[in-house]
Subunit: 123 residues, 2 copies
Amino acid sequence: MPSVPEMRATVDKYLALVATGTAEEITALYADGATLEDPVGAEPLVGKEAILAFYKVIEPIKRSTELISFKAGGDTAVFQFKIVTAFDALTVEISPVDIMIFDEAGAVTSMRAVWSQDEMIMS
Amino acid sequence: MPSVPEMRATVDKYLALVATGTAEEITALYADGATLEDPVGAEPLVGKEAILAFYKVIEPIKRSTELISFKAGGDTAVFQFKIVTAFDALTVEISPVDIMIFDEAGAVTSMRAVWSQDEMIMS
């Protein structure tokens, strides 16, 4: 099982890549056959190809991330972060709580993002 | 799927019962066949009988709870809370992040508590 500092390092890397990395770099953090459910309640995406396509959507958009809180134990990390995306004059901010589960090698096997559309802050 | 306010009401009730309720009252919030993993990384308990036995342990201990944060969407609520337990002169405080998954009827099918022993604050 990955240690808490190892999970923290992956979460920090994940947020840095979600802000400035490529979809390929983000997807490399996931294990083969991993699942991604964002937001929770949506049909989960299964496998790296589907996960890559998910992150490809945000790749061209200007965005920034900031970790708000982090807690981990066992094989699981729970963290809240702020993500701000800019579409021309419009800025959209959300603060999801992500639940990540890791395999023995420290790769992400499951990511579920807890947030809802009505929490979006537009400015 | 339960609404976010319904999940919030169950979490509020859960924390109130963890503070002052009986093990039977707490266990009634769970679905048949539910799983409980506390802390994450421990062997999950399966079914109401095992869950009842888990809460029976804390029943005689003087304790209080306080919600710190709450987020929910889909079938999942994530919440942090402080629990203070008093053993004679010793007070132990932890602040787990619980991940609860609900069924269609609003019963808890899975609870995983993210915390580790080294976070205990004793006074």
